[in-house]
Amino acid sequence: MSLKARQSKEKRFQFAGLAAISIGLLCLVMLFASVLSAGLPAFQQTFIKLTFNLPADKLDKSGNRNPQEMKKVSTIGYTKVITEQLKLNLTKAGLEFDQLSKKELKNMISKEAPAQVRYAVLEDPSLLDREFEMVLLANGRIDGYYKGRVTKKSAELDVMVSPKQLELADQMKRAGILETRFNGRFFYWPDASDLRPEAAGLGVALLGSFYMVLIVLVLAVPLAVCTAIFLEEFAPKNRFTDLIEINISNLAAVPSIVFGILGLSLFINFMDLPQSAPIVGGLCLTLMTLPTVIIAARASIKAVPPSIKAAALGLGASKVQAVFHHVLPSAAPGILTGTIIGLAQALGETAPLLLIGMVAFVREYPSLSPEGIFEPATALPVQLYNWTVRGDPAFVERASGAIIVLLVFMITMNLLAIVLRKRFERRW
């Protein structure tokens, strides 16, 4: 081949490589752009600040301020009271609302609000006797108006919101009753039903994911490291260990849903562990992550030069001492990196959770004590999926917000893996 032909071949190859990277980067940019533009509004929320003078005769009929008796008034009762309070506040601010129907007025405020107020009153019955301020969520459509999801034009066609409501919202904003600001509740409130997308948060999902990752960490790492050390350093090389080795590599390639099926029959049906609980999810994900961590741990143990072990043995160390004092510390950065990548994989997994009942509507937080791992919870990717199938377009924003949170976790974990590797990696 002539020099020219070889050089042009190299150019073509370089160009192909560059094109491949560009396509990849372009896709990534498109993904980030669409997720960020759809999801960033989820971290903002529109709130309505109201001054309350609650009618004590309606909310506490017996008049003795006993929370047990006051519980009889349900959130439906509170809804009416809140609409009246909104009217009072609007009148005080000098705003016109006669042209709005009763239903339109009621729907300015989130359906979460009655529960918020009721909870506050039952906590502190003395609120009935004095004036107090409370910040309530605005309805999802009103909120969407300030995020560009709803416009006055679309509101004309939308049966869930009217242009009059948006007009009033604008007036309320000018009067300082309504404002759109950062929404920390997105991170710690639980999921909400389809009627109130504005109140939905990631609280239960984050807690569930945290428990599961913790279980994976506690179970998978010791098991994987022990397996790797044994296979690399102690096990004889024979047919049987070859078989184990092949099986571990195979397990790493098994579709994750299979671990869900296994989890259902083994942990729930046979061991009688509770459904929808992080313990079962964590166990399934442990099984799924084990092969990945074992392979990473073995590779990094193998990468430790035999001279180090030989030197330790030569100085009179036992085999266990040589492994635990010299080989394992040298291999630790690699094992750590493998572990973090395995955990990141476990964090983003949904398929096995589908079968063990974690793809569900869960509104109760699992407790923060160790028993919490036996109580129902969801996980981050599951919550994200649940939101994408809901009818109200406001949930699209919520789902994209959840994607951002998940991506931030992933990027942090992977960055941590890279930093640890760079920091502690030793070249021999």
Binding site: K71, S74, T75, I76, K111, A115, R118, Y119, V150, S154, A155, L157, D158, V159, M160, A192, S193, D194, L195, R196, I215, V218, L219, V221, P222, I268, M271, D272, L273, P274, Q275, S276, I279, L354, G357, V359, A360, F361, V362, R363, E364, P370, E371, I373, F374, P376, T388, V389, R390, G391, D392, P393
Partner: protein, 338 residues
């Protein structure tokens, strides 16, 4: 080494506490994704107003929910199966085989099914079951709506119908395809061809074309909506509640001249609707705290009545709700299916 010690300790703690972790204090329901939004609305309100924890609602499909219900009795099995179609004899037999004799059938209301297209896609304001049948049947070779009916717009036929795993497919077949088949006169033809076999003739009417003009959607309505966005000529099948949440992007066709609304469905004038149910395992009623209260709350006037939150979300209130309330209060199990 301390890390190893701690992790071994933690594993031991997990193993020990696993032994006594089977009691359950929240209601557990599973099943239809159509019933799911209604069930979550009720669960949320229940958790807010009662001292019991918020029930846990799993989705996964009507059939899967009923199967789960019939797995057996005990805290590790589900209490309620949400279902968008009526329970089958095979489910009842399965339940009986697993020691579940009493199941309560609770009808919560009706769900309307609409044919909707994007707002800019004009011309689909009026449809009849016959139109849909002539466009969707596997005997059809029409590619343009003009071939189906000269009064229809000059648009390519593109239908997005619920996949076979959905309960909605059954309604689509019975209330739309069969009705259209009869109106078009094809039913009589199939009836004669099959030597007077009613079942075979009906099956023939249900057959949907497979040349890509009718697409089965196995996902949710959000997928159908996304499909419409990329196929502006398309008509998709949606639930009424989904439509109500998206009236700024899609509109529903009148069927036989009737607008789909909670009123027309309740009165039975709008032809494409179906009842929604949930099934309760009676054996769990006094065992799982809050179960009886939850189902009574579900069918109470405040919730399932015409002014309740369920109706607001698009459920058509059951005119016979009072009878259901009595049945729930007296725990009357389901009788033999007719």
């Amino acid at each position: 080494m301390s890390f190893v010690k701690y992790s071994i300790g933690a594993v031991a703690a997990v193993a020990v506490s696993a032994g006594f972790a089977s009691a359950r204090d929240n209601v557990h329901a599973a099943g239809s994704s159509t019933v799911l939004p209604y069930a979550t609305i009720v669960a949320e309100a229940f958790g807010e107003n009662f001292d019991f924890p918020t029930p846990l609602i799993e989705s996964g499909g009507s059939g899967a929910g009923r199967k789960k219900l019939c797995e057996g009795v005990g805290a590790n099995t589900t209490d309620i199966a949400n279902s968008s179609s009526r329970i089958k004899q095979s489910d009842i037999d399965n339940c009986a085989a697993n020691g579940i004799d009493e199941i309560m059938e609770v009808r919560i209301g009706y769900d309307g099914i609409v044919f909707a297209s994007r707002l800019e896609t004009t011309g689909f304001e009026d449809l009849t079951p016959m139109h849909i049948y002539l466009a969707a049947s596997d005997k059809s070779s029409a590619t343009n709506w003009k071939d189906v009916d000269p009064n229809m717009p000059d648009r390519e036929i593109m239908l997005f119908i619920p996949g076979t795993k959905h309960g909605t497919r059954e309604v689509f077949e019975k209330k739309v395809m069969l009705a259209g088949c009869k109106a078009a006169g094809s039913y009589d033809l199939f009836f004669d061809q099959n030597g007077g076999d009613k079942k075979k003739a009906e099956k023939e009417c249900y057959k949907v074309r497979t040349d890509g003009r009718s697409v089965d959607i196995d996902g949710d309505y959000t997928e159908t909506l996304a499909r419409l966005a990329s196929n502006p000529n398309g008509i998709g099948v949606f639930g009424l509640s989904f439509l109500l949440n998206n009236t700024d992007t899609i509109y529903a066709a009148k069927i036989n001249g009737v607008v789909a609304s909670t009123e027309t469905i309740a009165s039975g004038v709008y032809p494409v609707s179906r009842p929604l149910y949930f099934y309760v395992k009676n054996a769990h009623l006094d065992v799982i705290p809050g179960l009886q209260e939850y189902i009574e709350f579900f069918v109470s006037d405040d919730i399932a009545g015409p002014d309740g939150p369920l109706a607001e979300y698009g459920l058509v209130s059951d005119p016979e709700l009072a009878a259901t309330q009595d049945m729930v209060a007296n725990r009357v199990p389901i009788g033999p299916l007719d």
